[in-house]
C-alpha cells in the first residue's frame, strides 16, 4: 500500500487546433489507506486522470508519485496497480476461478498458494458457489464481484474502481456500497473510486475530489463540500435538489449587510462573519446560494416571501417550486404540505446557511 500524489498533471489529446485539454494542472494527494472518490459530470476528465494513474494513458506533463517514487513514465505492468473496470473486463474464456487467480499466475505464485488465496477472496465476496462458471453465464452483480475480487487478490499499491456500479440496479448497488465500505475497513487499502454519482461518492469515500471542465474544483469530506463549497459549481453539483442561486446586490445600512436579489423583492441576510468578509472585500454584486433543505416552514426571524408555482409530492417530503418576481427557487417541505399553486408562502432560513460567491469568479467569498 502506498500514498499517491499527483502534481501538476496535464493531459492533452491530439495536437494543434483540434487538441483537447482533458486534464489541467491537477494536484491531488491521497494518503496511505485512504478511500478517495473522484466525482464529476461526464467528460470532466476523471477517467483520463484515473487512466494516467494506472498508466494506460501517457501523461502530457506533470508527475505521479506512489510513496515518493515517480511513476509518471512507467508502464502499467510496472506500477503495481489493480483496477476494476466499468464493463468488468473479465476474461470470457477463463472460469471465475482462473479469472481470480490470473494476476497471481502472471506473478509466478505457485498453485497451492493461488488456490488458497482464491478461496479466501471468494469467501469474502460470497462467490464460492460459482468458481467453476464462465463469466458470460453470470449476472451483472456476480461479474462485478469477480472483477473486484481479481483486483483485490494481490497486494497492489493502489486500487482503482472505475464507475463500477453504473450497470447495477438500485437494490444491488445499495448492497455493493455496503460491501465495498466493509472491504475497505477490513483491508485498509488505498482506494480511488471514480463515479459521476454523488450519492455513491459521499457514501463511500473518506474524501471526495470534485472535478469539472478538466480541473480539480475542490477536495474535501462530505461536510466541507456540502457546507463550504469552494465555488458555484460544487455548490450546484453536490446536494440534491441543487442549491438555489440568486444574483444579488450588497447593501450595507447601520452596520447591517443585506443582499437584495435582482428583479424581485427578496432580501437575504447573511450571518455576521459572512457580512464582515463581504464588507472587507468590497463586493457590490454577488451570487448568493441557499440549499432547498435550508428553506423551511419552521419559523425563524428570517424569511423569504414567495408564491407557490409547483408543489411536488416526493413521498417522504414535498418539493415546492416558488416564485418571487423573476426569481424562481425551490424548498423542501414536509410531505403533508397541502398548499397549491398561486398561494403565498413564507419560507424561513438561518443566516448561517446563506452562501455568498463572487459574481465574476464564482469562488466562495464566505
Amino acid at each position: 500500500m502506498a500514498n499517491v500524489s499527483l502534481q501538476k498533471v496535464n493531459k492533452i489529446y491530439g495536437s494543434g487546433p483540434g487538441s483537447v485539454h482533458a486534464v489541467q494542472d491537477l494536484d491531488l494527494d491521497i494518503a496511505d489507506g485512504e478511500f478517495v472518490a473522484l466525482l464529476g459530470p461526464s467528460g470532466c476528465g476523471k477517467t483520463s486522470t484515473l487512466r494516467m494513474i494506472v498508466g494506460l494513458e501517457t501523461i502530457t506533463s506533470g508527475h505521479i508519485f506512489f510513496d515518493e517514487r515517480d511513476m509518471s513514465r512507467l508502464e502499467p505492468q510496472e506500477r503495481n496497480v489493480a483496477m476494476a473496470f466499468e464493463t468488468y473486463a473479465l476474461y470470457p474464456n477463463f472460469t471465475v476461478e482462473e479469472n481470480l487467480a490470473f494476476p497471481l499466475e502472471v506473478r509466478g505464485v505457485d498453485s497451492d498458494v493461488r488456490r488458497k488465496k482464491t478461496e479466501e477472496i471468494a469467501e469474502i465476496l460470497q462467490i464460492t458457489d460459482i468458481l467453476n462458471a464462465f463469466p458470460p453465464e453470470l449476472s451483472g452483480g456476480q461479474q462485478q464481484r469477480i472483477s473486484l475480487g481479481r483486483a483485490l487478490i494481490r497486494d497492489p499499491s493502489v486500487f482503482i474502481l472505475d464507475e463500477v456500479m453504473s450497470h447495477l440496479d438500485a437494490h444491488l448497488k445499495f448492497r455493493m456500497l455496503f460491501d465495498l465500505k466493509r472491504l475497505h475497513r477490513e483491508l485498509k487499502r488505498t482506494m480511488v473510486y471514480v463515479t459521476h454519482d454523488q450519492v455513491e461518492a459521499l457514501a463511500l469515500a473518506d474524501r471526495v475530489a470534485v472535478m469539472s471542465n478538466a480541473k480539480m474544483q475542490q477536495v474535501g469530506d462530505r461536510n466541507t463540500l456540502y457546507n463550504r463549497p469552494a465555488n458555484v459549481f460544487v455548490a450546484d453539483f453536490i446536494g440534491e435538489p441543487p442549491t438555489n442561486f440568486f444574483t444579488a446586490c450588497v447593501a450595507t445600512e447601520d452596520n447591517e449587510t443585506r443582499l437584495l436579489v435582482d428583479d424581485s423583492d427578496l432580501v437575504l441576510v447573511p450571518d455576521q462573519s459572512t457580512a464582515g468578509k463581504l464588507r472587507q472585500s468590497g463586493h457590490d454584486k454577488v451570487t448568493a446560494g441557499i440549499r432547498p433543505q435550508n428553506l423551511g416552514l419552521s419559523e425563524t426571524p428570517y424569511s423569504l416571501k414567495a408564491e407557490i408555482d409547483i408543489n411536488e409530492y416526493l413521498g417522504e417530503r414535498s418539493m415546492l417550486t416558488v416564485q418571487n418576481g423573476a426569481a424562481t427557487f425551490q424548498s423542501l417541505a414536509p410531505p403533508d404540505m397541502r398548499a397549491g399553486p398561486g398561494e403565498a408562502i413564507q419560507l424561513y432560513y438561518e443566516p448561517s446557511s446563506v452562501m455568498v460567491f463572487d459574481f465574476e469568479t464564482e469562488k466562495l467569498i464566505a
Partner: protein, 289 residues
Amino acid sequence: MTTDTGSTTDGVKDMWRHVRFLFLAFLVLWVVFTVFPLYFMVITAFKTAAETNLTVPTFWPQDWRPGNFAGVFAEKTNFNALLDSFIIATANTALSLFLGSLAGYAFARFPRQAGGENLAFWILSNRMFPPVAILVPMFFLFDNTPWGTDSHLSLIFLYLVFNLPLATWLMMVFFRDAPLEIEEAAYLDGWRPLRAFVKVTLPLVLPGMVSVAMLCWIFAWNEYLFANLFVGSAVKTYTIVIPTFTHGSQTLWNLQMAFSLIAMIPPVTLFILLRRYMVRGLSLGVVKG
C-alpha cells in the same frame, strides 16, 4: 363481433398456409437447382468416356466404372498436383492469417496511427479489382523474381493479393469486437502487450480466425486463372491438371469429374470439422463477454 374475429383469424391462417407452401416450393426448386450439378458430376465420374459424349445424356450410368477414380492417377504427377495445391493453399493461408491479424489488430486498436478507415478500405478494395486486369503485369513482375513464376513461392505470394485484404478486413472487425478493456485488464494484471494479445485477445477472435483461414484456403485451393498462366512444369496445381484429361480431340469428362470429386474432399472435410467455428466466426459479434 366474435364471429368476425374468428373468420379473420381463419383468413390469416389460410394465408400463412399459402405462404408456407410457396416457401417450401421455392426450397425444393432451390435444392434441385443447386444439387443437380453435383449429382451430374458424380454420375459422370462413374460413366465410360463413350457414355459421357452421347448426344442425349443419360441420368444414370449404363455401365459403372469406379475404376475412373484410380485411373486419374495413372499419370503419377497428378497426385503431386494435389500436393502442390495443398502446399500453396496452406502456406498462403498461414501467411495471410499472420499478416492479416497483425494489420487487422493495428487498424482496430490504433486506427489513426495505422492510416485510418480510408486506408483500411483501400486495402479491402484491392479485393474488388478484376484479377484478369493485372494478369499480364503480374506475370512479368513475378518473372523477374529469383524464384520465377513456375514455383510454389510465386503463387503463395501472388494469392496474398486476394487473401490478405480479406483477412485484414475481417480480422479488423473481429478485433474491434474484442473489448479493449480486457487487454488493459491484462496489462494491469502484469502482462506485456504481446503476451496479453496472445493469451487474452487471440482466444476471443479464434472462431473468426478459423473462418478467415477457411475462406483463404478455399480460394487458394480453387484458383485457376493465375495458376494456369504462372505454373505448369516444375509445379502444377490440381486446377490446371483437370483440363489435361483429354484423348486426342475428345474431352474425358469422366476423368475430369472424378478428379474434381477427389479435389473436393479436403475442403469439404475441413468445413465439416470446423463448421462449429465457422458458424460462430461468421456471425460477427461473438466475442462480447
